[in-house]
């Protein structure tokens, strides 16, 4: 019997749900009540489970806490996990992403933060060091702020020393030397929100994901535009045909199979609701060449958006798919999105979900 953990980060706290079959769920009492939880990392490498959360109080600021006992107790270093060095004159506003690296790099965890910055931990997420190469990047003064704030919201570690970062607004950047140097990688991605031809950087990327089998294949959901890259981000081509809209925030890639991805379309930047007021995920099994609507078990009426990290997959077989709305509803699928059951309802706005089959 395996247990699956689903962590739900909301505007006002963290809830943990567990299930043996991913259809019937047991929901915890809230953790970190009255603080937003915009980022969660579940690290199951090495046969242990570490939960990491980026929490933020409107009054008392952000911090990173971790738990090695499934939330029974939480720990944070006295002087904080993520602190800008004094010479930067900067202060962390929000931790947007906590991303464990691969099993080949145990202990390595990446963080993406606001203001736009990427951090690396070598001790399992207890202490992070600022990636100076991106912080000192000459493009910095030209990066903008999305509605949620200027943030490196997605960090996607890859093979060797490759890491892709997505920032709003700035677009996709890639390092091939572990973070020492970074190059924009947005060729082919349109910028319909600004005049003129698409620039080298400045795109408003909402989420990127890497194909689990073909690591040089990436997928991106942009602020209008859904794309695939076959060359590690060097160039992007549209895969939006067949979707009801090219707007949305979510991009999920299958953890085992090549070419399977999920998105959650919203109507448009000026109408951020599911098309027709009906929540649906769309899955492609051919890297975006075609799409199929999945809505069995999702509500017939839903006028709330799904935020960029409010959807996730686990690594089960078949893969579990999870989605939460700004209306506080959370749904789980034990069959790769074919059918969903409700995990929780009437929670605060769901900011992020992460799930893992526990070792």
């Amino acid at each position: 019997m395996t247990t699956t953990l689903l962590a739900i980060g909301t505007r006002k706290g963290l809830w943990l749900a567990t299930s043996e079959d991913r259809r019937s769920w047991s929901l915890s009492q809230p953790h970190f009540l009255m603080t937003e939880v915009p980022s969660i990392g579940i690290d199951t490498r090495g046969g242990r489970t570490r939960l990491m959360v980026g929490v933020r109080s409107e009054h008392f600021g952000p911090t990173v806490a971790h738990s090695d006992d499934l939330g029974a107790t939480w720990t944070e270093p006295d002087h904080g996990s993520i602190r800008f060095p004094a010479d930067t004159g900067a202060a962390v506003e929000r931790i947007w992403q906590l991303q464990p690296d691969s099993v080949d790099r145990p202990g390595v965890v990446w963080a993406g933060c606001e203001p736009i910055s990427v951090w690396r931990s070598d001790d399992g997420g207890e202490h992070f060091e600022l990636c100076r190469g991106l912080w000192d990047h000459p493009h910095r003064s030209e990066w903008g702020a999305g509605y949620g704030g200027p943030a490196a919201h997605t960090v996607v570690p890859g093979p060797d020393a490759t890491v892709h970062v997505a920032m709003s607004t700035g677009g996709v950047y890639r390092t091939r030397d572990g973070g020492a140097s970074w190059e924009p990688r947005n060729s082919g991605i349109a910028t319909p929100f600004m005049p003129g031809p698409p620039p080298e950087f400045g795109q408003c990327v909402h989420k990127i994901a890497r194909d689990a089998v073909v690591p040089t294949r990436l997928y991106a959901q942009n602020h209008h535009g859904v794309y695939r890259s076959e060359d590690d981000g060097d160039s992007w081509t549209s895969i939006a045909e067949g979707l009801p809209s090219d707007f949305g925030f979510v991009m999920l890639a299958h953890p085992h199979s090549a070419g399977t991805i999920w998105v959650v379309p919203l109507v448009a930047d000026g109408e951020r609701i599911p098309p027709g007021g009906q929540l649906a995920m769309h899955r492609s099994d051919d890297a975006g060449a075609s799409w199929r609507r999945l809505d069995d078990g999702l509500p017939a009426q839903e006028f709330n958006a799904v935020l960029r990290d409010a959807a996730a997959v686990d690594a089960g077989d078949p893969v579990g798919v999870y989605v939460g709305t700004r209306g506080g509803e959370v749904y789980a699928s034990a069959d790769e999105g074919e059918t969903f059951t409700q995990v929780a309802g009437h929670l605060p706005d769901v900011l992020c979900v992460r799930a893992a089959v526990l070792p």
Partner: protein, 94 residues
């Protein structure tokens, strides 16, 4: 000199459960020096009220004998002997 500091109940888990402390500090005392003294004993409390640049968080207010320090000299506001200093969250929130 002795200064009495009232701490927000919301942060009591960072202050060993205490919601007020009496600090003995060498004069002259500023709000910054007072927070530094608190930080030595309660570093997590300090991170909650000041960011890593040392700035008071936007939605945290500090009063010295009833006067909000942003209307005075900020963290350099002098704290007289026998003063009561209140650290409290602002009315921000949703």
């Amino acid at each position: 000199m002795t200064v009495r500091v009232l701490l927000p109940r919301l942060l009591s888990e960072c202050t060993g459960g205490r919601t007020s402390v009496a600090l003995d500090l060498p004069a002259p005392v500023t709000v910054c020096a007072l927070l530094d003294a608190l930080a030595a004993e309660h570093p997590v409390f300090d991170r909650r009220v000041r960011d890593e640049t040392g700035a008071l968080r936007r939605h945290v207010n500090v009063y010295v004998d009833g006067e909000e320090i942003r209307r005075l000299s900020g963290l350099q506001t002098p704290v007289p002997a026998g003063a009561e200093v209140m650290v409290i969250q602002s009315v921000a929130g949703g």
